[in-house]
C-alpha cells in the first residue's frame, strides 16, 4: 500500500498518525487532497446539522410490499437455469429437425469438433448463469475470453469442406438458422437482465451466451468448413447478436437497480 493510499484510508479517522502527517506535509498531492477533505468538513465543535425531511413509503412501494409480505425471496437461480434448459432444447431441436437423422454433419476432426462443441456449451450455459450471478466479475471476464478463443479455434479448425451452393446462399441459410435459434434465448436473457441494474458487461455476456445457442447448433449441423464461411456466417452473426442484445438492454428500463 502506498503512502497516498494510507493517507486516504486515514482521512476521517481523527488526526493523521505522525508518519502520515509528515508525508502529507511533504507530498504536494496528499497535501492538496487533505486540504480539500478539510475544506468539506465542518469545523470541530459545530453542532450537527438539522435532519432533512424523512421520506415515507409511497403507494407503489406499499403495493409491492403487500404483494411480497409473507413470501420468502424467490430463488436467484430459477430463471437462469430455465434459460439454460431452453437454450439446450432449442439447439438440440434445431439439430434434430435440420439433420434428418444425421445429428453431426460437421466434418472437422473429432478432437476439434468436441473441443469447440464443449467450449460453445460452456459459453452458452456458463455465460447465462454468470451474467445473472451477483459478484463473479472475473468469471465473466474469463467467459468473454473463452468465447473469443472459441471463435478463433472454430474458424481455425474447420474441415475446409466447401459448400455446394453460392457462398452467399449457403451463408444466408446459416445466418438465418443462427438468428432464429438465438431469438427466444435472447428475449428471455433480456427479460432476466431487467431484474437488476444495467451492467454493460453482464448484458453483453448474456447476449453472447444466448447467441451461442445458434452457433452451437450450426457447429453440429453445418457441413461447410471453409474459414471464410465459418468466420462470415457463424462468428460475425454471433458478434452482431451479442452487440444487438447489449444495445437493446441499454434501452430497456430496469425493474430493479440492485447490483
Amino acid at each position: 500500500m502506498t503512502d497516498h493510499e494510507r493517507v486516504m484510508g486515514a482521512l476521517g479517522q481523527g488526526e493523521l498518525p505522525a508518519d502520515l502527517a509528515a508525508h502529507a506535509t511533504s507530498c504536494a498531492h496528499c497535501r492538496a487532497a487533505v486540504a480539500a477533505y478539510r475544506a468539506l468538513a465542518p469545523p470541530s465543535g459545530t453542532p450537527a446539522p438539522p435532519a432533512g425531511r424523512r421520506p415515507s413509503i409511497s403507494a407503489s412501494l406499499e403495493r409491492e410490499l403487500a404483494m411480497t409480505a409473507g413470501r420468502p425471496a424467490p430463488s436467484l437461480w430459477r430463471g437462469p437455469v430455465l434459460l439454460g434448459l431452453l437454450q439446450a432444447v432449442v439447439a438440440m431441436a434445431v439439430v434434430v429437425a435440420l439433420g434428418r437423422g444425421e445429428l453431426v454433419r460437421n466434418q472437422a476432426a473429432p478432437a476439434a469438433l468436441w473441443a469447440v462443441g464443449l467450449a460453445l456449451g460452456a459459453c452458452a450455459l456458463g455465460g447465462t448463469l454468470a451474467a445473472v450471478a451477483p459478484g463473479y466479475r472475473r468469471l465473466r471476464t474469463a467467459l468473454f475470453a473463452l468465447a473469443a478463443g472459441t471463435a478463433v479455434v472454430l474458424v481455425g479448425t474447420g474441415s475446409g469442406l466447401p459448400g455446394r451452393r453460392a457462398f452467399a446462399m449457403d451463408g444466408a441459410v446459416c445466418t438465418s438458422v443462427e438468428v432464429a435459434c438465438a431469438v427466444l434465448p435472447l428475449v428471455a436473457a433480456l427479460w432476466l437482465q431487467r431484474r437488476f441494474a444495467f451492467d454493460p458487461m453482464r448484458a453483453a455476456l448474456a447476449s453472447t451466451a444466448a447467441a451461442a445457442t445458434g452457433v452451437f447448433a450450426l457447429h453440429l449441423h453445418c457441413p461447410i468448413g471453409t474459414a471464410s464461411h465459418l468466420y462470415t456466417f457463424h462468428v460475425i452473426p454471433w458478434l452482431l447478436l451479442g452487440a444487438a442484445g447489449l444495445w437493446i438492454r441499454s434501452r430497456l428500463q430496469s425493474r430493479s437497480y440492485a447490483p
Binding site: 487533505v34 480539500a36 432533512g52
Partner: protein, 169 residues
Amino acid sequence: MAKFIEGDRGAFEVLFQRYSQPIHGYLLRMVGSEAQADDLTQATFLSVLRARERFRAGAAFRPWLYAIATNAARDQHRRRRPEEPIEQAASEVEEPLAHVDPFQREAVRGALARLPETQRVPIVLHRFEGLSFAEIAEVLGATETAVKVRAHRGYEKLRELLGHLEAER
C-alpha cells in the same frame, strides 16, 4: 435483512425507517433535485423489495443499499435528455456544509459537480455519507485501492477548483 428476505414486512419497515433519510440525502447530492431524489429513494427501496434474492447472505446491507441508489441515480442520468437542465439543488443538499457561508457552499457544490462521476461518487460516499473505502469498493464493485486512487485524485482536483477560496480568506 435476513428476516426481510424471509418475507417479514416489519423488517423492511425497520430498514426503510433507518436508511430512507440518508439515502434521500445521498440521492439529493447526486441528482440535485428534491423531486428526483424522492422518486429515486422510492425506486431504491422498490429495488430492495424486488431483488432481495440478490442480496448475498452475510454481506453488509448498507453498501448494497448505496450500490442500488448509485445505480438508480446513474440510470436516471443516462436516460436524461441532453437538453433537460439539472434542477438546482435544494438548500439542504449540503447539510454537512450548513456551517459555511452560502458563497463557499455554492463553490463547493459547483466544484463537486465538476468532478467526473468516477471521482465524485467516492468522495460523496466517503466525506458526506461516512462510508469506509472498503464499503465504497463494495458499492462500486471495484477494488479498495482503485477507489482510494479515484478519491485521492478527486480531492486533489477539488483542492485545485477550490483554491481561490483559500486565497480569498
